[in-house]
Assembly symmetry: C2
Homo-oligomer: 361 residues x 2
């Protein structure tokens, strides 16, 4: 059971029941599904990258629609990350005590993000929850590098928390690599700053699962129970169940959306690889009993046919199903944990982190 | 004004008001939009290629869902063409008096289509309107080749019309190339066979527009007015208006759907090229006053952003808009011809046949 006391998180766009899963919105939009459909489905929170949003559609465009919700049409809450994690994704040009210089792969633009620039960007985006800029070293760095990141993230956290944006909550990020002492130190430093919640950063970046689990448990215990605790970039059902047991109550991932686009449908029995030729003459829905519009209208055979034709309708339909699946799964995580545990077991053999490697069902 | 007497065409799936435009369904499905949405939009007829359907999803699968409507979920009328036109699309292996040997580019399969095979395929598909197998020589062939196609198409027409399929209407196809005498001869021969309607084949295959117009006028005049008259593969607004003036009352084309996927939105002022950077900070809808769900929910700026992100939502949204546009345009063609004429003029400068070459608005 969730060890935190926080069961909901209030934002300007509503109240979020925890634990929650945040689908990833690329430049504000969920890929393959229109935002009015996302609203209709009852999805109440998304996460988007603030640095990418500042490049396109750009802060001037976002200003003109009075924030990101106006631009995209999403009615729920936006979390925005600061881009710190992008250090690991080949977009880093330079990092020092002042901040980070990024290069946007798509546009080629570079820009320098400091804690106050990040705060300003997220303030103009008018996201509901802004994540601080943190320093997240790669897996396998020397202990000194992790120690530096703890100090730097503390300094950046103080600067980030100083600027207040009306209606926006700010989350701190705990670093400290894979060293229990450094994690404890970072937790104490960060929770001394006035934040509304905390992310546990620098995990799931290539380390073995046992290491993640052990570091996570230690870190969570140093965060006072009244704060929401966010494990960024984690969102497969097996991990969500496991980490929610350890007290994590916010998750995000491209897991349901990216897998949908690559042919994987999520079911209570595990992932279904719709590329498999056996589904050509299977006239059942993705999942019997599922009430999503895809399962109400399309057979596995018809979906396989759309995939073969490279019809973008496939991406729309399977994304809709996978997001519906995740919403039901999260409802179980909140209210029917034994059921959530059973379902999560059907995913654990397929998942080591985010990738479905041998999915079929 | 439409010179035909036929104002509607009844099928097993409803009554079609003429003139009508048929969106193209690839292997039964409209690309980028789910079929339940196509039904909700009020689209009542589509055309699909019977030879392609017989390969995938395949006749066995279609049998198991009691026809193509059961397979795809479309509630309206399907027209199916016989594949005769594919001769011009590099799928022909061989043609002789017996029939046509095709090679399916996607699967690599070859199959021989004779008039009775074509009839059998379309019967199992259970389409509402089956087009006969015809012999359509390319533009610029010798007169003898066109004469042969007139005789062959007549023989094939008799064989095709012999097999009756309950609930299915059959259309003949008039050939004769670009020669007035041969067109007259083919019209007289074909209308002597018991068909439910006629297509004018072998046009818009590369000849100058004046040639199309002159041959078309002559051919139409030889078809008794009580029959529906179908110009296959033509569907840009300028051509629809012009040819409906000459008595054509059925059109089909990938024009609205393919152009949507390539970035062109159709408006009463002509096509809008959403790839143009000027739309990045344009917060109006594709078309002011349009009631489609795309225009109600997405700005040009947001659509351009989706296009830049290669998000398949773009294809969904612009296809929805373009199909809505075509439905409204066809309503004008039927009931407000002066308005249809004005709108069609905004397209004529962009269209020579099917391709938008210099579209921008």
């Amino acid at each position: 059971m969730n060890k935190g006391l926080t069961r909901e998180l209030r934002t300007n766009h509503g109240s979020l029941e925890l634990p929650i899963f945040l689908p990833v919105a690329t430049r504000g939009f969920v890929k393959a599904v229109p935002m009015y459909k996302i609203n209709q489905m009852g999805i109440v929170a998304l996460i988007s990258n603030s640095v990418h949003l500042s490049i396109t559609p750009g802060l001037d465009n976002i200003d003109r629609t009075n924030g990101i919700n106006g631009y995209t049409g999403f009615k729920g809450s936006y979390f925005t990350d600061s881009g710190g994690f992008q250090i690991l994704r080949e977009e880093l040009v330079k990092i020092d005590n002042e901040g980070i210089v990024f290069k946007d792969k798509k546009s080629g633009s570079s820009l320098k993000i400091t804690p106050s620039v990040s705060s300003e960007i997220q303030s103009r985006i008018k996201s509901d929850i802004a994540m601080m800029l943190d320093d997240c070293p790669p897996y396998g760095a020397p202990t000194e590098r992790y120690r530096l990141s703890v100090e730097r993230t503390f300094e950046w956290g103080k600067m980030f928390a100083e600027t207040k944006t009306p209606g926006q909550k700010k989350f701190g990020i705990i670093q400290g690599g894979f060293n229990a002492e450094l994690r404890e130190e970072s937790s104490k430093l960060m929770t001394s700053i006035e934040f509304d919640g905390f992310a546990i950063g620098g995990l799931k970046i290539g380390e073995p699962r046992e290491v993640t689990n052990s570091v996570l448990e230690k870190t969570v215990n140093f965060i006072p129970p009244e704060y929401p605790k966010y494990l960024m970039g984690v969102g497969d059902p097996a991990s969500i169940y496991d980490y929610s047991e350890k007290g994590i109550d916010i998750f995000d991932s491209t897991y349901p959306t990216r897998n949908a686009r690559h042919g994987y449908a999520l079911t209570i029995n595990g992932p279904l690889n719709l590329k498999n030729s056996r589904y050509s003459d299977d006239f059942g829905p993705i999942e019997a009993g599922c009430e999503c519009e895809t399962c109400q209208n399309y057979s596995r055979s018809a979906l396989k046919e759309l995939l073969r034709n490279e019809d973008p309708t496939f991406q729309y339909l399977v994304t809709i199903h996978n997001l519906s699946f995740m919403m039901k799964f999260m409802d179980h995580v909140r209210n029917a944990r034994e059921r959530a545990r059973e379902i999560s077991k059907n995913f654990s053999k397929f998942n080591n982190g985010e990738k479905i490697t041998h999915a079929d069902g």
